[in-house]
């Protein structure tokens, strides 16, 4: 069962969510502050971080950025503020998903499972490493390299890139991407897709030119290529 690091300053949520997740078989470590959470990461070695957006001292966005600097650990933002601005800021900082508080444990667990779901397609006739322009995508190893250099990507970014590049030139609507990549069949939120595409572009696209790999098809959605 997944090891979850919960960074949350409010004791009742910390205990409640911790209790709920432990009952469902997760191994949960809880930290009161961002600094404590970052310190715990070295010893606890979590597979996923549940991160409150508003924390004393270092806030959730800063913690998220710090984690992203060195790790591709999946991050889910826990936010009491459902305002669009906060959600977008959290997603832009590199979170893979967000949960608006209050939420039932089953919802939280479903999101955790969706983010952690095994990536990759069963190995078939496809070569293990695909080359698209300057990008090298290793479906088995779940790594992406640009010009031979590895690009660190968050799980949601890898999932999105793998999904889009599996069917080059096919247009996917935001709704389709939400369902495939995030398993969000119950909450249609196109901002997740848009924020993830923006982040992916800053990592794989040439900053000077227009998007080459992940192209916007106005009125419909996104597609990979044509290169």
């Amino acid at each position: 069962m997944p090891r979850v690091l919960l960074i949350e300053d409010d004791p009742s949520i910390r205990e409640g969510v911790g209790l709920g997740l432990r009952r469902r078989g997760h191994e949960v470590a809880a930290a009161e502050t961002g600094e404590a959470g970052l310190a715990l990461m070295g010893t606890f070695l979590p597979e996923l971080v549940l991160l409150d957006l508003m924390l004393p001292g270092m806030n959730g966005v800063q913690v998220c950025r710090r984690i992203r600097e060195s790790s591709q650990l999946p991050i889910i933002m826990l936010t009491a503020r459902g305002d669009d601005f906060d959600i977008v800021v959290g997603l832009e900082a590199g979170a893979d998903d967000y949960i608006v508080k209050p939420a039932r444990t089953e919802v939280i667990e479903a999101r955790i499972r969706a983010v952690l779901r095994r990536l990759g397609t069963p190995a078939g006739s496809r070569p293990e490493v695909e080359f698209h322009g300057e990008l090298a995508i290793d479906r088995a190893g779940l790594t992406v390299a640009k010009n031979g250099e590895r690009v660190p990507l968050a799980p949601s970014e890898i999932k999105l890139l793998l999904h889009l590049s599996a069917s080059p030139e096919q247009v996917f609507s935001r709704q389709q991407l939400l369902e495939y990549v995030w398993d969000h069949s119950y909450h249609a939120d196109a901002r997740l897709v848009d924020a993830c595409v923006r982040r992916l572009r800053t990592k794989v696209e040439d900053p000077a030119g227009s998007p080459r790999y992940i192209q916007t098809v106005r009125g419909f959605g996104y597609r990979f290529g044509p290169l």
Binding site: I13, G16, P102, D189
Partner: protein
């Protein structure tokens, strides 16, 4: 009542100004004319009367007179008419003499004759001859003074002289008055216009200011010029506007405080709820193993916590609308697909919901908010109305742009007429006895706000068949 076509303030002001100018011009001219006329005529009369008297007194009288003598006196006097030539007529008993060819005058009236014979003094009268020419007729009885007593001699002399010159003078004066009045009136238009302008400019300023205030610019003020009544009015306007602005800003502050309070309360409620909601499943699971009372209590707490979470979520959403913090995240969607997804997600795709979804209708809207709207309408129809619920979607071309029309009709008893106007009110409960329903009481209010955010309208009515019909009408392409 007959409505008079409204005249502009400017027209009325100028008309009033001209009327006053005309009245004063006419009055002045009339009075001047009368005074001048009297003065001119009086001078002529006095001169004539005194001249005649002087002449008559110097006439040697040899009484009694005969016709020849009378004729001689009359002819003598006739030659001495000064400054105007006159005709002299003499009457002595039955004798008549005249300095002209006519034996008697046509202008000497019986009244004058009577006056002269009754009192031995000079009498005069202004008359007009049958041709309309003005004449002065002077009558004088010749007297002698035997013992310092005026005794009439019986000789009466009349002198008639035309007043043509005087008439011409007076006429010239009338003409001058006429000639002066018309240009005078024309010139009066200039000050009238200036006055109208000076009155109208503040009025116009005020109208503009009032309009600007009406558009919500409460900081509008008028420049106060001078110290007249209009300036006073402008000052009053400014004071009123100031008071209005202050009370409106106070109201707004109070409203903002109330809104912030609602948002803060909801926000503060979320934190404990987050902890509680996370463990409600633990309670539900444990309840199976506990005694019935404890189990019922736990299940109640769990269920109420869930409701509270929905209520708080809805309150947050409403306060976002109130603070105008809600925004649209627009996306192009296939409407039929979006409706289908909404129904599918909530497992409503059985015989309870009948859909009429045209294919190939694409709309630009916020999919999340659209989902909330549709789910709420269909959910309400199922809960408060009755199955089957019909969902009809169509696109319509209108002058203002294409519209998306969605109709959700249920087969229930319909909405009571007294409930209908309040159906979108917050926390409005149709059934007063059932104070707690499954929803938060904010569902329709949130739905309406979501529709408004898309620039659309939502209306509720009762259909012909009896069920309630909710009609959503919004632009096919919403503006962000």
């Amino acid at each position: 009542m007959r409505r008079v076509a409204p005249l502009g303030l400017r027209t009325r002001l100028i008309a009033a100004f001209l009327l006053v100018a005309a009245i004063s011009a006419v009055t002045t001219a009339t009075l001047t004319y009368q005074q001048a006329r009297t003065a001119v005529l009086k001078q002529s009369q006095d001169t004539a009367v005194s001249t005649l008297r002087d002449q008559v007194e110097t006439v040697p009288l040899d009484l009694p007179l005969d016709q020849a003598q009378l004729q001689r006196i009359v002819t003598d006097l006739g030659k001495k008419g000064k400054p105007n030539p006159w005709n002299v007529f003499g009457e002595y008993g039955t004798l008549r003499a005249s300095s002209t060819s006519a034996p008697t005058s046509t202008v000497v009236s019986e009244e004058l004759r009577r006056q002269v014979t009754a009192h031995p003094h000079a009498a005069f009268q202004r008359v007009t001859d049958p041709a309309g020419r003005p004449y002065l007729a002077v009558g004088m009885a010749a007297v002698w003074l035997p013992h310092d007593v005026r005794e009439p001699t019986g000789l009466v002399l009349f002198a008639t002289m035309p007043l043509t010159t005087e008439g011409n003078t007076v006429e010239a004066m009338v003409e001058a008055a006429k000639r002066g009045a018309v240009p005078g009136l024309a010139i009066a238009v200039v000050p009238a216009l200036l006055a109208a302008r000076s009155v109208l400019r503040p009025v116009r300023d005020m109208r503009r200011a009032a309009q600007s205030m009406g558009r919500g610019r409460l900081d509008t003020r008028i420049e106060v010029r001078g110290s007249d009544e209009l300036a006073g009015l402008a000052r009053t306007f400014n004071e009123t506007a100031g008071a209005l602005e202050q009370s409106v800003s106070e109201l707004r502050e109070a409203e903002a405080r109330a809104r912030r309070f609602a948002a803060d309360v909801s926000h503060e409620l979320r934190t404990p709820l987050a902890g509680m909601l996370a463990v409600t499943e633990v309670l539900d699971e444990e309840a199976e193993r506990l005694d019935p009372d404890t189990a019922a209590a736990l299940r109640l707490v769990s269920a109420e916590t869930g409701k509270l979470a929905v209520l708080v979520e809805d309150l947050m959403e409403i306060s976002r609308f109130d603070a105008r913090a809600a925004e649209l995240n627009l996306d192009d969607v296939d409407v039929a697909e979006a409706v289908h997804k909404t129904l599918e997600r909530r497992h409503w795709l059985d015989e309870r919901v009948v859909t009429d979804l045209p294919s190939q209708v694409r709309a630009r809207l916020d999919p999340r908010r659209f989902d909330v709207v549709l789910a709420n309408l269909v959910g309400n129809a199922l809960r408060h109305g009755g199955a089957p619920v019909r969902v009809g979607v169509r696109a319509e071309v209108r002058p203002g742009g294409p519209r998306l029309l969605i109709e959700v009709a249920d087969s229930g008893p319909g909405i009571a007429p007294e409930v209908l106007p309040h159906i979108f009110d917050r926390f409005f409960k149709a059934d007063a006895a059932r104070t707690r329903s499954a929803g938060s009481g904010l569902g329709l209010a949130i739905t309406l706000e979501n529709v408004r955010l898309h620039g659309g309208t939502l209306s509720a009515a009762n259909g012909g068949a009896g069920g309630a019909v909710f009609t959503l009408d919004m632009p096919l392409e919403a503006d962000a």
